[in-house]
Symmetry: D2
Subunit: 377 residues, 4 copies
């Protein structure tokens, strides 16, 4: 790849998906829409060379598009600029540089910034703002109020980060009560990078805050998530737009996909599971103790792991089923005795081991079948 | 990954191989030393955000270390700075920022720059320079002379690049004759990015210039070489040091590893092949027309493909052998007739199809065996 | 995995997809249906330990189900049984052993056998037969007639196999004329294992025979196609059933998917391409020489490579587009001059380089766009 | 691949590594020798179609060679032959069919069989026997005595298999005391397939029995271990031969490599770890609280995970180090205070989390460094 005489903003578009065809592709993340909402895949926390990140803004955008995301926020630190000997301060630079490429790619770029203070209160991302330079304030309260004044939403970042909580335990301070009572925060990061804070999931549910999960990427996604995926916030939006995302966060319609697990409110995880899975048939017919084969397809990118919860005394479903992403599988069901004669609707209940609905809760799903067993003659 | 209170130069070290363990590893490129020389793996052409690249200098260095390289040059354009609205001009910035991390990692960082002019004469990399800012000159001759004055070596970049040669054919202009006759250029890129110029390999051999192959990476290696490796210059050096590399280039002891092929002078490719390959035994004993099994191990990262050149009328070797990287294999040898009775030293000749020693030449290797065939009774 | 007290026919079902969950999954081959027909994925040539294969029949069936196939034929050799010192002759054994598992998995198992003679006439697969033991005949004509009498279809296997044609060139003998004129053969293998015979594709088109491609697997698919896919015959059937497949072969509604390429009649390859590809929009709007971005999704498992055929003097489409399987991509279209002012329907023609419609022909596809270019002011 | 006119025993050699080059390669398992012994990679438990396996014996052998093994035993069930309607009983068949190919490939094929009884006493593998047909006995005691009479070694298979212990808990019965006291068993499977029995590791250590781990493969390794490796017994032998393996088992010089972990006696695991790992230097020099970089290479195929055990009050080593297989990495060491002034030999102790030396014990390793810290001025 060599010099081209295009405008600056176009340069990385070109190098990204035109000159080097191998890189210029997008692979959708297969997590289905749920009834009434589009499921948008978002990362609201990332850095560029304008604070302590390693890449130019257009790289972040091309990377997100390639990874199948619908929206990202670039949230460079206001108060931490280790590159300032080489790069003059302009907290809006990343957004300015990136916005045209985002439009070309159909990716929603959300203007954002990270308010970066000692704990308490710690770090906060302000997104949907209009001028990051105006967030430079002595008092952190003023910075957050300015963000909200601009129409921004503010969420608390990595509350259990060892850099600010050496024991890794998230703590709720008076400062957070202040923000909460004054309706200055909309959500909290339950997942940041490779960290998950179960306690914080509990806070979000108790206090009715949005459940947020982000990569906080500084280098590249490829380096930081070599054999995994970046954490993303799943946003259940009425429409695919910046406004649709904002509305969804304000109304707590979010979940997290991270480390093969889905974290979120039961209200959203249940339809998400049901939209991902499809049974070839829900009629189960068998004779004596012969196996009835049940075929099920998992059209999503999530490997769902099911553990049997209820036990029926006539019919036997598997204790454990693993539904691999993008594949179909068959499992066996059979009568417990040779002389079973039943014709019933049967609702089997499985715990979805990787759908987390609380600090120590998993999603239970009910699957309905028509069971017809005739005795063996 | 979040803010840390370390010095700027350390920040990316930390984020690179300490906080994110998955990324902090180095995988050696297995291409063996040859008798008398260490085989160093080098990339002399790369960019950062200080010209039109997408990454911060320390990322380039961590990336090279991770990829198993021994040395890189960062060679930002002097005359092309599309980011200058946001980043003040300082052609030495990338080297200054990166040098400490390179020392920590034991990677040789070569100070370099790309003199970027219309064709003719085109683009040139100056490496082993001491002050890139001094290369800002109106006349390209002065820029190249300044580089040489600083102790630098200059090579001509991508002579067949379509941006400067729309038909993709490298052309040698009077300007290049000027540089050559005044001993101002040490070599030419025979490989740049995904392009190989056979004609230029011929030029290097005729004119006794160093054979160079580089990535010219702008984004990240992961994005630009997703399912392949970056091209590298193999440098056959007396010692692993900056001086050792410079001495090797001046004495044309280089080759290229790119796209599964090795390009270079026969003098170096032959020992490179022989150092990569090891036979379990070179004694071939068989009776009648039974198969004798010959086991061979390929300890290198190169898949060697051999095509039989000479044909013996008593003993039959395979027409084609593929020696996969890092594996052992067995092939069969047998007599052509039942009543063969020979006891001889036999030298079989194979063309190594992916060892390119000229614009249209491949390396021939001679393998010596002791063959003992007794007739079947 | 250990002994279980189940019936023989169930044993491998269990070991295959129940005890070892990792293996018990099926991944569909994404090649879409075409208007009027289901696209079935079939392999009509495979072996088991009952002739010279390495696996038990139920393994073949589980393997095919896992690989996403709809139908297979096991076609052990009638005249070649290298294991007969250990295994008594029963040419129906593989079918008998496998049929129940196939039913359980919903895989169509076609009863078949390979009539295995010297060239001419060579080897022939008889499929849809009812009794393989009845194919044991001295005269190959009688064996083939018996197969046809049973309702079988016969096709000629690997006509260019070096074991029977040392120079690899397929030859049409009088024996084949005999079979053809007596309507005893329905098709020919244009692809067998890793071999493709362009000349035979020509024969199939001239003589109106079915185009067949098979794996001829003896070991396992994993060993024989480690980094690739097995060749399959694509059957365009009115219904997914044994009868549907037979009807499609008799009516020449077949194609081959092999080595990243599709081979077949234009009539089927054109709708197959169009069903695989989807444009986000076919409206192209741009100003001056700005890029218009066209987004296209490839929902199939085929990487399609397009090369521009027609050139328009006002509007410029890319010379080459690679549509990677399962991804979306964007390409640029723009006016050739700043002052273009057009509003037209434009049909761009691309050759699909990996859709082979004859011995030396490729599929041309026409893509229709509404182009609106306004001059730059 | 098609019919060839070779002898039966050669057929699969050919198809395996000659016709299909992609399959005909061997990749060594990189687990180093230890002082005084060669580390042989063995699997003493596998099945073919001669009992309830899915493959022909030569496939098992080619597969083992390809996977980098040094030795295998094929151990078809004596008392369980679900294929007998199609295959006449001959318990020596697999060994007879396989032995020539094993010789050609340099793989040690150990004659074996599985004595397959109800629990107690359960299943036992007899290896190094000479005639499996002679193991057909009414009383299991007689079968085992016959094996020992032939010079065989007997080990107890999968003592916690749910098919014989529904709760998965291994139980030691009087029958096992009988075998143990009469010196009729040499070892026990601590690992079988995907199961590890910690309690059984304890038994082996208490009772001085050989620690054995096997695949018990019935289908193919590729299907049963798609994203993992088969379990293997590591045998520390004086020589690479059948006799060398037997001597090592008799003298309890074995360990297991399975699921990324090494299980065995400390005596062997400690030198195994030390032979796998290499430090670039053991001199640690630093000033003030600056980082000293320590480079370490892991030449083995095992990812070693180290957790700090001892804590020094002057110098700080990382709490956790992951040494990825086949890579080098750097970690940091630094003084705890700015004014540290020490010059000492320092032995840091790490627990190797994946080197299991007892039912609930891990290997501790001591690493010695020369530490020189000078205070920052």
């Amino acid at each position: 790849m060599k010099l081209t005489k295009l405008l600056t903003v176009l340069l990385f578009v070109i190098s990204f998906y035109s000159l080097n065809a191998q890189s210029g592709y997008r692979k959708e993340i297969k997590i289905p829409d749920i009834p009434g909402y589009k499921t948008l895949k978002c990362d609201f926390h990332s850095h560029t060379i304008f604070s302590d990140g390693a890449v130019w803004p257009t790289f972040r955008i091309g990377e997100a598009w390639h990874d199948g995301l619908d929206a990202i926020a670039i949230t460079d630190h206001i108060e931490y600029q280790p590159h300032k000997d080489y790069i003059p301060t302009n907290h809006n630079a990343a957004y300015e540089i990136g916005k045209n490429l985002a439009i070309e790619l159909g990716l929603i770029l959300i203007h954002g910034s990270e308010i970066t203070r000692e704990m308490p209160p710690g770090h906060f991302n302000a997104i949907f703002i209009t001028d990051a330079n105006a967030l430079v304030k002595d008092d952190w309260r003023d910075a957050i109020k300015e963000a909200v004044k601009q129409g921004g939403l503010v969420f608390w970042n990595h509350p259990g980060w060892k850099g600010q909580q050496p024991d890794g335990a998230p703590r709720w301070y008076d400062e957070h009560t202040y923000l909460y009572e004054n309706k200055l925060i909309a959500g909290i990061e339950v997942v940041n990078g490779s960290e998950y804070y179960p306690k914080v999931l509990g806070w979000c549910l108790e206090k009715n805050l949005a459940i947020i999960g982000n990569s906080d990427v500084h280098n590249t996604i490829n380096y930081e998530y070599r054999n995994s995926r970046r954490p993303i916030t799943l946003v259940f939006a009425k429409e695919k737009s910046s406004a649709g995302i904002k509305d969804a966060i304000l109304n707590k319609r979010t979940a997290i996909f991270f480390d093969g697990k889905i974290f979120g409110r039961e209200t959203f995880l249940e339809p998400l599971f049901k939209s991902s899975i499809q049974f070839a048939s829900t009629d189960v017919k068998t004779v004596g103790r012969e196996n009835a084969n049940i075929e099920v397809i998992n059209n999503s990118d999530v490997d769902f792991e099911l553990r049997l919860v209820n036990v029926d005394d006539t019919i036997r479903f598997p204790d454990y089923i693993k539904l691999l992403a993008g594949t179909s599988m068959m499992f066996h069901v059979r009568a417990r005795k040779d002389n079973t004669d039943v014709n019933k609707k049967y609702s089997v209940v499985y715990a979805v081991e990787n759908a987390i609905t609380g600090a120590d809760k998993k999603l239970n799903v009910t699957l309905d079948f028509n069971v017809r067993v005739t005795p063996k003659k």
